[in-house]
Structures are given as C-alpha cells and as structure tokens.
C-alpha cells in the first residue's frame, strides 16, 4: 500500500519561497497529474517527493512513513526524467538491470523481469543496443522499462513526453495510462500540457506560482474551476472572461447586453464562458464581432471581440462557418454553464 500524504509542504531556495504550503493526499494506485505553467514549481514538488530536493518545512509521507530524511534510494520510488537520463555507456538491458543488480536480486530473476518489461514495452529487439542507437520514442520506453522492472511503490514522471513529436506523444500517453492501470502503482506525473493532464490523471493538481490552485478530477476542474487561473488553464480553447456587473440573476456586460446568470452576488465580477458553451442563437444577447476564423474541420473557432468593445471573445461552432471578417454573430449562454469569479481575488463565487 503506498498512499502519499503532503502536509504543509514548503520549499525555499535561500530567501525565496518557491512552493507555499502545499497540501494534498494521494490514494494508493491513483494517477495524479501536477499541471501548471513553466516555473510554477512542478518539478520542484516532484523532486521533493523523490528525495532529490530537501524539504524546507512540512512533511511527506509515503505509505504512512515520513520520508523527509530518507535518501532517494530508500524511498522505493522510480522516476522517469524529461531527458530520459539513460546510462549512455550501458546497453538497454544493463540500463534496466542496474537497479536490480544493486538490490542484489538473483541473476535469473533480473533476467526474467527485464525480459518481461521489454515484452510489455515492445523493446525486446533493442535489448543489446546502446541508448544512442535508439530513437527518442524508444529511449522513452527504455526509461519506462527501467522504472517498471524495479516494481516500486511510486512512479514519478517529469514531463516524460515533452521531447517527442505530437503523434508519438498521444500514443505514448495512452500507453502510460494503460500501463499504470495494469500495474496499479501510485503515480505522480508532471506536465505543462493541459490536454495531457486531462487525459491521464485520475486527479489533477493545478499549481500556479507555487500555490495549489485546485486539486480535483478533470471533470471537477472543467465544470467548477476554483479560480480564474484554473478556468483559463483547463479546457481548450481557453475560457472567455468578461467583466460584468451582477444584480441578482442578471449580469450586464460592457456593451450593455444583459445575460441571465446564477443569482449569487451583486456588484462587479468576472464572468467566464467556455467557447464551446456559446450557443448559436440569432436572437441571443452576446454579439461577437468576427476578427478571425480557425477552421478545425469538425468545428470552427470564431475569434473576435464583444461588439463595440476591446474584450476578446472566442466561440466554437460545429461544422464549417464562413462568416466574413467584421460581421456580427450572436450567441446565448445557459446560466448553469456560466462561471462567476471574484474580480479582486479571482476565486470562484460560492454557489
């Protein structure tokens, strides 16, 4: 059993604090994705769990045991690095067997495990090659293989797919997910790609500037983002934000249009609408002045502005649209799919 408990975790480099009081519990066998923009502290958090960075204050528990003071080797974890970090002078087989040899496993047991992992990852024919004789995707598999032969309590991944091309990334993403489900090992996966995060994670931890913005399932994050940041980060294309003046169940937009919203608050607020939730409606209250069309085939992204203002607005409509630049297109929005945030703090206004 290996659940992970992060309690009031702080990391400072000298006087600068880069992680602020991170809290989070990860259940046994869960796949957690830590997601956030570059420099928000994702790698730092992961490396603290691995034991590669010291903990400034707070506590990390793996399987109930405090590991703050334990060496990486004593934590029973395996990590896949962004640049794979394969041992360049060893063959694929030796790379995978290295950790097992150190653990003094019998030779035939080592061989059995390496062969088995190679089988799963389909790298059997490369076992006697050196890492430099492999393609990026193959190296990626070897790095995964090195992690799974160890049969650890926890897998840690630091942007393992970011060096691969788009197609391979999608394929490997699915494979990692399948592999994790099959092995049932608790995993933490770091990425800055929100699509990767949504598709992989049982739950997502959204980090921003060293703070945990929200920790929940992909659907929770999509349906009820806790802050403007999460709302803008999760979902593609990104959510539209408009300043609005609330009065009971009515919101007045900058161009004077009035929208029905959940009755929550009075006064200024930030109103969030996902492009895919803008419904085509010639009589709708939201008027979009078209600037640019992005044809994606299945649907079309209409980029523009709220009529008569400089507030950017994007809508996603099914099929092929062919609006001319400068024309007006009208939409309506369902109150249940409209998000409201506090203007000052950016936090979601309580339901």
């Amino acid at each position: 059993m290996a659940d992970i408990q992060l309690t009031d975790l702080v990391k400072s480099y000298g006087p600068t604090e880069v992680l602020h009081h991170v809290e989070g519990g990860i259940k046994d066998g869960e796949f957690i994705v830590i997601v956030g923009p570059s420099g928000c502290g994702k790698s730092t958090l992961l490396r603290m769990v691995a034991g590669l960075e010291s903990v400034t204050s707070g506590e990390i528990r793996i399987g109930g045991n405090r590991v703050n003071e334990l060496e990486p080797s004593a934590r029973d974890i395996a990590m896949v690095f962004q640049n794979y970090a394969l041992y360049p002078h060893m063959s694929v087989r030796q790379n995978m067997a290295y950790g097992l040899k150190i653990r003094k496993l019998p030779k035939d047991e080592i061989n059995r495990r390496v062969e088995e992992a190679a089988e799963i990852l389909e790298i059997k024919q490369y076992l006697d090659r050196k890492p430099r004789q492999l393609s990026g995707g193959q190296r990626q598999r070897v790095a995964m293989g090195r992690a799974i032969v160890r049969d650890p309590q926890v897998f840690l991944f630091d942007e393992p797919l970011s060096n691969l091309d788009a197609k391979l990334r999608v394929q490997m993403r699915l494979e990692i997910r399948k592999l994790q489900q099959r092995l049932g090992v608790t995993s933490i996966y770091v990425t800055h790609d929100q699509v990767e995060a949504m598709t992989l994670g049982d739950r997502l931890m959204v980090l921003n500037g060293g703070y945990v913005e929200q920790f929940g399932t992909p659907i929770e994050l999509y349906d009820r983002p806790a802050s403007v940041f999460v709302a803008g980060f999760i979902g593609s294309p990104a959510m539209n934000f408009l300043p609005a003046d609330l009065n009971g169940g009515r919101a007045t937009l900058p161009d004077g249009a009035v929208l029905a919203v959940p009755p929550r608050h009075t006064g200024a607020a930030t109103l969030g609408l996902r492009p895919e939730h803008l419904a085509d409606d010639p009589a709708g209250p939201i008027a979009l002045e078209v600037d640019l069309l992005e044809q994606l085939g299945a649907n079309t992204l209409i980029h523009g502005r709220l009529q008569g203002t400089e507030h950017a607005l994007t809508a996603s409509v099914p099929g092929h649209a062919c609006d001319s630049i400068g024309s007006i297109r009208r939409f309506s929005a369902t109150p249940a799919l409209t998000h409201l945030f506090d203007t000052a703090s950016g936090k979601r206004l309580a339901d």
Binding site: L52, S73, M79, A85, H89, Y98, G99, I102, R146, R150
Partner: protein
C-alpha cells in the same frame, strides 16, 4: 561541400604566421635535424674529428645495460607519476563536485601548483624533504623511517615521483572537473534513485563516462613524465644517487653535456623523439574518435 572563399592575395597572412614558423624552425626543426645528424656521428676521444658511422650509436644503445635500465626506470617513473597525479586529481575533482560553499576558493587553490615553475617546485620538495632540516623526515623519524634521498635510491625515486605528480595534479584536476560537469545531472540522479550510493555511482557511472578524459590525460601525463620532469629531477636529485633517478631525458643531458658523448646523446634524443611522436599519433587517433563507450 563548402564553397571556398577567395580573398585577394596578399602578403599579410604569411607575415602573420611568419614568427610562429620562424620559432618552430629555429627552436624545433633545426635542433631536431641537428640531433638526427649528430646521432650518425662518432667523435674521437679528443674531440678533434668526427666519423660518420650510420646506426652504430643506436646499436651501442641497445647493448648498453645502463641505457636499458634507464628505459625501464623511465617506464616505472612515468607510470607512477601519471597514476598518482591522475588518481589524486580524480579524487579531488570528485569531492570538488560535491562542495557547495567556497567552491571557487577550493578550486583556485587546487590550480596554483600548475603555475609553479618545475625547478621551483623541485626546490620546494627538496626543502621539505631535506634529511636534516626538512619537516617530513622529522615526522617520518617517528614512524621509524630514516629519510635520506641523497643516499637511498628508492627514496630519491619516491621523492621525484611525488614532486612531479604534485605539479601535474592541478592540470588533471581541471580536466576531470570539466568532464564530470559535462555529465547530465539527471543521469547521476537516476542512479541515486536506482539505489546506488556515492561510491557506487562514481565507479559505475561517472568513471566510465569520463574514460575518454582518462585516456587523454594518460597520454598527456606520460609525455609530461617523459620530458617535462627534467627541471624537477635536476633540482631534486640530479639523477642520483648513482643513476637511480636518471630517466631517459636526464640521461640525454648527462651523457651529452656532462659525459660529452654527443653522438650517443643525440641517438638517445632521437629515440625520445620517436617516442613522443608515437604518443602524439595515438593521442590524435583517439581524439578523433572521441567517444569510448
């Protein structure tokens, strides 16, 4: 293919390389050819006439037990100097990598010995190991060792090896440090996560990965021990006691300028020249291939 760029012909490039060519000609090519010519001559006992004898000087060398002994001595000397200085440098570089505070200070200190002239370095060690005044013989006395490198050939050899190795440590240290820093950190971290302790990481990951540097340094240090240790030996033991620290390069000097056997000395220096050329060829061959793993 790159297109060749044509510059207007002018004397300037030739002028610019002229000093280097002049220096090479005057100080390297000319003496080398003189030595080559000299090695074919035998001078009579009174220095009045010379005779052209082809390879007789070389034949004499091969049957000269003193020369062969010196050859053997040089091999031992240079292997020990290279081994000792590279070993110490490797150890220091390994530690320097782990030092967090005062790393600059530590590294600067380690580089200083390289800037000391060989003769001065020799003088330093002579003082420290002076049988009557030196600090080390004083301490060795407590361990029951009587130190006198003026009388004891093994001790004399140990002293010149120590001095020569000490001076080369800084150079090796720099190369090892650079090599270690070029290993991606994540590879070391991966090994740590795989369960390898510091010593194991060093021997199974770092050491194999810096093997090209080790080979490069081995050649450089052999060349150093063969040729550039002359100053140290001259200052510390002058080849003595007896001939116990007379390595090849010192024998060239001794036979030629002290013993005045110019032909024999020239033949020895030609042999040395062939050796250094051979080592350089090995070196270049290797550097071109670069990766050893």
């Amino acid at each position: 293919m790159l297109k060749r760029v044509h510059f207007p012909t002018s004397a300037l490039p030739y002028l610019l390389v002229a000093p280097q060519i002049a220096i090479t000609l005057v100080f390297f090519i000319w003496p080398a050819s003189q030595a080559m010519y000299q090695s074919f001559l035998i001078e009579d006992a009174f220095g009045l006439g010379t005779e052209f004898v082809w390879f007789e000087n070389f034949e004499i060398l091969w049957s000269d037990s003193h020369y062969l002994a010196s050859f053997q001595r040089t091999a031992v000397f240079s292997l020990l100097v290279a081994g000792l200085s590279m070993g110490v440098a490797l150890l220091l570089a390994g530690f320097a990598q782990r030092v967090v505070r005062g790393a600059m200070f530590y590294r600067t200190l380690l580089i200083w010995p390289y800037a000391v002239a060989p003769v001065l370095a020799g003088a330093l060690w002579v003082f420290m190991f002076n049988p009557t005044l030196g600090i080390f013989p004083y301490f060795l006395e407590f361990a029951g060792i009587t130190w006198n490198h003026y009388l004891n050939g093994t001790q004399a050899m140990a002293l010149v090896i120590l001095a020569a190795a000490w001076k080369q440590v800084a150079y090796n240290f720099l190369f090892y440090l650079a090599a270690m820093q070029s290993i991606p950190n994540s590879v070391i971290e991966a090994a740590a996560i795989d369960g390898a302790g510091p010593a194991r990481r060093f021997w199974t990951i770092i050491f194999p990965l810096i093997s090209p540097t080790t080979f490069f340094l081995l050649v450089i240090n052999m060349v150093y021990a063969f040729f550039e240790t002359f100053g140290i030996i001259h200052a510390v033991t002058q080849g003595g006691p007896g001939t116990s620290t007379t390595i090849l390069v010192y024998k060239v000097f001794n036979d030629g300028f002290v013993g005045l056997d110019l032909g024999g000395s020239a033949a020895q220096s030609v042999v040395l020249m062939v050796l250094v050329i051979a080592m350089t060829v090995v070196q270049f061959r290797f550097v071109e291939r670069k990766v050893a793993y």
